[in-house]
Amino acid sequence: MDNILTTIVAMSSITGILAFLLSIANKTIANYGEKKLTINEDKELTVDGGDSLLSTLIENEIFIPSACGGKGSCGYCKVKVLDGGGQFLATEKGYVSEEEREKGVRLSCQCKVKEDMRIAIPEELFNVKQYLCTVTEIENLTDKIKRIRLELPEGSELDYKPGQYVQILTPVYKESDEEVYRAYSITTPPSSKNAVELFIGYIPEGICTTYIHKYLKEGDKLNVIGPFGDFQYIHSDKEMILAAIGTGMSPIMSILRHMKENNINRKVTFFFGARTRPDMYMMDILQELEKEMDNFTLITCLSRPTESCSWRGEVGRVTNLIEKFVENGDNKEAYLCGNPPMIDSVVKILLDKGFKEEDILYDKFE
C-alpha cells in the first residue's frame, strides 16, 4: 500500500515540478510582450506576442480559413506577410509555391508573432464571422449521410455565395479531447440567410463527423464560422457540367437552387455517382428541380448495383458518365465536387476533351 502511495506521490511531484518549470519558462522565455499587427495598411491591432499568427487573428475575431485547425496539414490559412514573421519554415514548403513565397505568402498557423508585423488579407475575410447556431433539424439521408439544419441567432445573417462552405467548431466530447474546426459546404441557396443546411458524411474516427452522427441532438448549439471558399458559382452563359459523388452534392445543390430561384436558364447537366441504390439521396428534390428547370438534366450512375437495387440506369463511375455524355469543352464550364482521386481523374478527362483549365472549378473534400 505504501509502495503505491509513494509511486503516486513521486510521479505527481515529478510531473508537477516539470510542468511548473515549463510554465515559468512559458511566461518568461516564451513571452514576447505586446506587438503591433497592421492589417491591410489600415487596421491596427495590439496583440500578445508568442502565439501563431492564425490563433492571434482568431482571438481578434478575424477568421482565416483553416480546415485542420492549425496543424499545418491543410494549407488553407495562407496570409501575405509583408513585414516580420521570421524565416520561411520547412513545414510550409509543401503548401506554399515558390511563386507565392516570393510574394510573402505564409501559412499563418506556422508563423509566429514575435515582432511587429504587417500583413495583408483578402477584404472578404472581414465578412467572416462566428455564429452560435441552433440545430433545428437532423435527418438521415442515407445510413452514412445526415442533413443538419442550423438556425443563425436572431437578427444575424450569413452572406454567402453558392458553393461556399462554413466551418463547424467541434466541441470537446466523450471521444475527443480537443476542439477542432471542420469544413462543410452549404447546400441551401444564398437566399436562405437565417439558416443553412449541411450534408455531413460519416467518416470512421472523424472527430467532427462522429460528434455529429453520434452525439448531436436537435436543439443543441453549434459554433459555425464562415463563409469561406473560392469554389463559387460564376455568372456567365456557358453551358455547365456539374459532377459530384457522396456529400459532394452539397455545394452543387446550392448552385442549382440558386439558379432555380433566380430563373437562370443556362444549360446544365448534373452527373451524380453513388455506390448502391441506398447511397442515393435527395433524388426527389433533384427530380423536381429537373421538372421545373427547362435546361437542367440529371444523370446518375451506380458503381456497384446489387440485385436488390433493381437498377436500370447507368452503371459505372462519374468518370464513365462524363466520358459518355460530354462531347467537348466548347463554351462549357465544369464544377466538380468529391474526394481527391475523383476530382483528379475527372479533371484529366475534361482536359483531354478540350476544357480550358480556368473553366474547371473544383472543391476537393479531404
Partner: protein, 195 residues
C-alpha cells in the same frame, strides 16, 4: 575493472554506436539522412539533448528513484524528463538563437521521440555507470549518432543519381547501406570494448 570515462566515450562513438550496433533512433536516421547539412544539424541537436538528459536523468534516478525504491518508474520518468527538456531547449533556442531555430526547424521537437535518447539513459542504469561515466557515455553516444547519420547522408548524396531497382529506392537502400556500415564498424571492435 572500472571502465574509464575516456574508454566509454570512444566505445560509444565507434564500437557501441547507438545506430550501428544497437539500431536505436532509426526513424529519424532513415528519414532525415538525405542531405549532409540537415543531418549535421539534427546530429548536433541530438548530441546536445542526449548529453544533458543523461545528466539530469542520472541525478533524478540516483537521488529520487533509488532512495524511494521506485526504480521501475524509470521508463516513464525518463521520457517525461526528456520531453520537458526538449520543450525548454526549444523555447530558449527559439528566442535567443533564431538562426539555429530555423535551421533545425521541425527536428528539434522530433528529438523527443528519438528512442536513442531514452536508450542512452536506460543503458546508463543497466550498466551501472557513475556520473562521469554517464556524461562520457551520453556525449559519446550523441557524437556516434551524429557520425553515423552524417556518414549516411554523405553516402546517400553520392548515390542520389545512380539507378536503383524501383523497390529499393528510399528507405530500402538506406537500410541495406546501414547494414554494410554496421559491418564496417565491426572493424573498430579491436580498439575498445564495453559490455
Amino acid at each position: 575493472m572500472e571502465l574509464s570515462p575516456v574508454t566509454i566515450f570512444f566505445a560509444a562513438i565507434f564500437t557501441n554506436n547507438m545506430i550501428l550496433s544497437n539500431f536505436l533512433g532509426m526513424c529519424s536516421f532513415i528519414a532525415i539522412s538525405s542531405d549532409i547539412k540537415t543531418s549535421l544539424n539534427l546530429g548536433v541537436a541530438v548530441t546536445f539533448v542526449m548529453t544533458f538528459t543523461t545528466i539530469i536523468n542520472y541525478n533524478v534516478y540516483h537521488s529520487l528513484l533509488v532512495p524511494l525504491d521506485l526504480e521501475y518508474l524509470r521508463y516513464i520518468v525518463f521520457i517525461v524528463v526528456i520531453a520537458s527538456f526538449v520543450q525548454l531547449v526549444e523555447m530558449v533556442v527559439e528566442k535567443y538563437f533564431q538562426t539555429l531555430y530555423y535551421a533545425l526547424g521541425i527536428f528539434l521537437p522530433l528529438i523527443t521521440v528519438n528512442c536513442a535518447i531514452l536508450g542512452v539513459s536506460l543503458f546508463m542504469i543497466i550498466r551501472e555507470y557513475n556520473l562521469m561515466q554517464s556524461i562520457a557515455f551520453g556525449s559519446g553516444s550523441g557524437l556516434g549518432w551524429l557520425l553515423a547519420i552524417v556518414a549516411m547522408a554523405g553516402i546517400r548524396e553520392k548515390i542520389k543519381n545512380n539507378p536503383l531497382p524501383k523497390g529499393l529506392e528510399g528507405p530500402g537502400i538506406t537500410l541495406i547501406i546501414t547494414g554494410l556500415m554496421a559491418l564496417a564498424f565491426i572493424g573498430f571492435s579491436g580498439i575498445v570494448q564495453i559490455q
